[in-house]
């Protein structure tokens, strides 16, 4: 239990061990630990980000789906409207066509009637002459009675 040079030896040994620890033991260990801590923090961060991204993507997908549905509904509605319109148009044009045909037919009929009347008028004089000659048993001078006949025909 004497104080002697062991003290000096211990001081030197202590200094060497502390130097060694500071140089070769502490830095690699603490660096490895800090790096690992950083890696874990980064990993957690990335996981959080991924979760957020996933959520965003899901929201986006949902909204796109809804939009698509709305668009589809709109398109269908438009198509329906268009179809109705086409039908209406077709109806209208058919009605107009019918009208036109009816008008044309009426015109034709009128024309035929007029033509028939004309023919009839033309033939009335002949028939009248023939009738009259039958009645009178004589021939009638056409030229003599032409004026009378023409008057008759005009009255028809």
């Amino acid at each position: 239990m004497n104080i002697n040079a062991t003290l000096i030896g211990q001081i030197i040994a202590f200094a060497v061990f502390v130097w060694f620890c500071m140089k070769f033991v502490w830095p690699p260990l603490i660096n490895a630990m800090q790096e690992r801590a950083k890696k874990i923090a980064d990993g957690l961060d990335a996981a959080n980000r991924a979760e957020r991204d996933l959520k965003l993507a899901q929201e986006k997908a949902t909204s796109q789906m809804r939009e698509a549905k709305e668009q589809a509904a709109q398109i269908i509605e438009q198509a329906n409207k268009r179809a109705n319109q086409i039908i209406d148009e077709a109806k209208e044009s058919a009605r107009q066509e019918g009208e036109r045909l009816k008008v044309a037919a009426q015109a034709d009929i009128e024309q035929e009637v007029n033509r028939a009347k004309e023919n009839l008028r033309l033939q009335v004089s002949t028939l009248a002459v023939a009738g009259a000659s039958k009645i009178l048993e004589t021939s009638i001078d056409v030229e003599k009675h032409n004026a009378l006949l023409n008057k008759l025909a005009e009255e028809l």
Partner: protein, 303 residues
């Protein structure tokens, strides 16, 4: 039996001392030194007569051996340290490093890269030195005696104290290094003036410079005692605890030679004391580290 016990205890408390004996010194075995030379002390009296120029080969050997062992293990773990999942010994070392790092962060508020490795070294080294206390007291000394007599020495002179921290040289060596660092960093951080001011302007401080001048010697006296008490208490606390613990192990070991019943009782007591001592050695290592951190933190604090 009584004389035997005294001898047994004395033998256990004597270091294996290697030092210089002067010419004309009469040794324990009756021979007289022809000229002064370095030799192993045969008795504790010889060891004392060697003066300061002597080495405790056992304390120093175990101390350096244990320190080297722990540094080697740490160095290997540090070399293989991966940032991936730590396994086995790396895990253990990292727990220690993290524990020390947290303690330093809590206790030390300056910026100094040496404090954390210093604390780790102190904690692990002191713990290892204390741990030798748990090796049954007679095993290694007996083996050493055997080896010593095989090598041609007198087994009565084969001293072997295996717990370095029961040697005040070892604990003083640690605490004086810490003390030197305290002084060094005090002066570096606060300047020589700041350091002297810390020693002379507290605890009595008055505005009037003339009255203050009267207080300076008083302050210096008080603060010097406070300063010097730090390394001494640091060393003696560890030494005292370990020495007392070792002493009790030795005293209990005396029971082994006192019959079967007492021997068995001694075995139980050794075991019980060892279990209790697990707490003591860890606590003392922690206290030494903690106080080192606190002292160095105080040295870094500028008022």
């Amino acid at each position: 039996m009584a004389g035997n016990s005294t001898e047994y205890i004395k033998h256990h408390l004597t270091n294996l001392t290697y030092g210089e004996l002067p010419a004309g010194y009469e040794r324990a075995d009756g021979t007289v030194m022809a000229e002064s030379s370095w030799t192993l002390a045969q008795t504790s009296q010889e060891a004392a007569d060697m003066g300061f120029m002597a080495l405790h080969l056992d304390s120093l050997g175990w101390s350096i051996g244990l320190g080297a062992l722990i540094m080697f293990l740490f160095w290997r773990a540090a070399k293989k340290a991966t940032t991936g999942i730590p396994t086995g010994f790396q895990n253990f070392v990292e727990i220690l490093v993290e524990f020390v790092d947290n303690t330093v962060k809590e206790g030390f508020h300056g910026r100094n890269p040496i404090v954390a490795p210093l604390s780790l070294t102190i904690f692990c080294w002191v713990f290892m030195m204390n741990l030798m206390d748990l090796v049954p007291v007679d095993i290694i000394p007996k083996l050493f005696e055997l080896g010593f007599s095989l090598a041609g020495g007198d087994p009565h002179h084969a001293y072997m104290k295996i717990v370095p921290s029961t040697d005040p040289n070892i604990t003083m060596g640690l605490s004086l290094t810490v003390f030197a660092m305290m002084i060094y960093y005090s002066i570096r951080v606060k300047g020589i003036g700041g350091f002297m001011g810390e020693l002379t302007l507290h605890p009595f401080n008055v505005k009037n410079p003339f009255i203050q001048a009267l207080f300076v010697p008083v302050n210096f006296f008080l603060e010097s005692i406070a300063l010097i008490a730090k390394p001494i208490s640091l060393a003696l606390r560890l030494f005292g605890n370990m020495y007392a613990g070792e002493m009790i192990f030795i005293l209990i070991a005396l029971l082994f030679s006192a019959g079967l019943a007492l021997g068995l009782l001694g075995g139980v007591l050794q075991w019980a004391w060892a279990v209790f001592h697990i707490l003591v050695i860890t606590l003392q290592a922690f206290i030494f580290m903690m106080l080192t951190i606190v002292y160095l933190s105080m040295a870094h604090e500028d008022h």
